[in-house]
């Protein structure tokens, strides 16, 4: 991304003059105070908002010029994890995790083994038919991770995934993300939990008031 700027219709400038490159396979922490522009930057990476000016390419796709089809393409290759999980509470764990595959047109017979494998990976094979409200916060976040990784995305965007978790659970969540990164996925994670950076090192990008603060740390 080069000289990236994002101004919302309200006039608020969320990002200004951000220039950086994130290469495939990196594990990147986005840190900064609330309102620094972390979430806005991540939204731009999956086409949730378009840059107002500057250049942003995600997997060789220009996000300013990309049509709906290209944005959908990017989203199908991106796993998104939210701080509040955004799980569907009226659907089972299995259905939540199967959703990205269903969106990509996978037949039920084909997606079952994949969902099973992913849920076994996050240690929730015994909660397939549970509903999310029956799970603890950590388990819900693991379901969200399973959902994000089920379609085998090349980018995982995690917006403060450990925000509501205790240190031990947060560390476990980071373990999963690190593991996915080792398998080749680019992980971009916004966080306030700076203590995690010691146990789970990665590239750190600090934002302050919508701009890069002192470059990469």
């Amino acid at each position: 991304m080069q000289q990236l700027m994002l101004r919302y219709p309200t006039g608020k400038v969320a990002l200004s003059g951000v220039t950086l490159d994130i290469h495939q396979g990196q594990f990147v922490y986005l840190i900064g105070e609330s309102g620094a522009g972390k979430s806005s930057l991540m939204k731009m990476l999956y086409g949730g908002v378009r840059p107002s000016s500057g250049q942003l390419s995600v997997q060789q796709i220009d996000m300013r010029e990309a049509g709906e089809a290209r944005i959908r393409e990017i989203r199908q290759r991106t796993g998104i994890i939210f701080q509040d999980h955004k799980l569907l509470f009226a659907r089972t764990v299995f259905e939540n995790v199967a959703l990205p595959l269903r969106v990509q047109g996978w037949k039920t017979e084909r997606l079952i083994p994949r969902v099973r494998k992913v849920l076994e990976y996050v240690g929730l094979a015994d909660r397939l038919w549970s509903y999310p409200q029956a799970l603890s916060g950590g388990e819900q976040q693991r379901v969200a991770i399973a959902r994000a990784m089920t379609a085998n995305p090349s980018i995982i965007i995690a917006d403060e995934p450990t925000g509501n978790l205790d240190i031990e659970t947060a560390s476990r969540v980071l373990d999963y993300l690190m593991d996915l990164n080792r398998q080749g996925a680019t992980v971009i994670m916004a966080t306030h939990d700076l203590h995690l950076l010691e146990s789970h090192p990665g590239r750190v990008i600090q934002l302050h008031a919508g701009s890069l603060a002192g470059g990469d740390l």
């Binding site: 086409g47 089809a69 959908r72 959703l99 047109g105 094979a125 015994d126 549970s130």
Partner: protein, 297 residues
């Protein structure tokens, strides 16, 4: 909700309720209510068209036998040949027959249930009568031509018979009104279905938002709602058709008396497809404004 301590394996045969695409969501109370309301409206549409069908058959039944009578007072008897010629010149009159006074008197006696009138006196008082058979009673100026010919030669037309012969116009008007009522009811049905689906859309807003975040195509997001709308309309159509049978059976004797034989099967497809079409239209209206901030582009 099942919570076992032992691992729950996914059975080989499993049918998870996955959203999107051609998967129709489960029916709830709102959908059931919508089906009931749309069914009542479709029943009304079906009843209207059954009525039109019955009226058409009834009118068609006696219209085949209808004749128009033109009367000429005996005082104007000299005009009879001219009147006959003028009437015969009208192309829509297929046959013209002069009814003898004796025949007319006999018919009148029968009509009055042999009231004991003096046959001779009756014959002397009855006018000269022509009986006209028509080959196209729907012709635009036919009755004006007959009326014109009669008045030119001192005669008169039986206007009651003219009104009866023109009953097809009433049927045409009734059909027009039936179309109008059907259209209004169709719009109301589409609105009901649209409103129901709008509630469903709001209830599933998170799901739609997530599917878009995952790169779902617009048809994939909207298709379940369109299918649901069609299904709601289709089910209501079949239910309305079934509920029309008691109406038909209840009026069976009356219809038989009028020599009307209604065909209910003719209504099955229109009600089914009409319901589905109205449902699809309602769904399109409901989903037209489904937007989220994460919509691609």
């Amino acid at each position: 909700m099942r919570r076992n301590s032992t691992p729950e394996l996914i059975p080989d045969k499993v049918n998870p309720r996955l959203p999107g695409g051609f998967n129709v969501p489960p029916f709830g109370i709102q959908q059931t209510l919508a089906v009931i309301i749309v069914c009542i409206a479709l029943w009304a549409v079906g009843a209207i068209w059954l009525g039109v069908q019955a009226a058409s058959q009834w009118v068609g039944g006696w219209q085949d036998d209808i004749h128009i009578h033109v009367y000429l007072d005996t005082a104007n008897a000299s005009q009879e040949p001219e009147l006959r010629s003028a009437l015969e010149a009208i192309p829509q009159i297929s046959a013209l027959r002069k009814i003898s006074p004796e025949e007319a008197a006999r018919w009148m006696q029968e009509w009055l249930d042999n009231a004991g009138l003096n046959q001779k006196e009756l014959v002397s008082r009855l006018p000269i009568t022509f009986e006209l058979s028509l080959n196209d009673e729907q012709s635009q100026f036919l009755f004006d031509d007959i009326r014109d010919a009669a008045t030119r030669h001192g005669g008169a037309v039986n206007e009651s018979e003219v009104d009866m012969a023109q009953a097809h116009q009433w049927i045409a008007q009734a059909e027009y009104l039936a179309w109008f009522a059907s259209l209004i009811l169709a719009l109301a049905m589409a609105l009901i279905i649209s409103n129901t689906l709008r509630m469903m859309l709001l209830a599933r807003a998170d799901e739609i938002h997530l599917m878009r975040l995952m790169g779902a195509k617009e048809w994939f997001v909207r298709m379940p709602f369109i299918l649901e709308g069609m299904l709601l309309g289709g089910i209501a159509g079949i239910a309305a058709w079934i509920l029309l049978w008691p109406l038909l059976l209840g009026t069976g004797e009356w219809l038989e008396m009028l020599q009307v034989d209604l065909n209910m099967w003719v209504l099955l497809l229109p009600l089914l497809l009409g319901g589905a079409l109205v449902g699809a239209f309602g769904a399109l209206v409901a989903t037209a404004r489904v937007d989220s901030s994460e919509k691609a582009g």
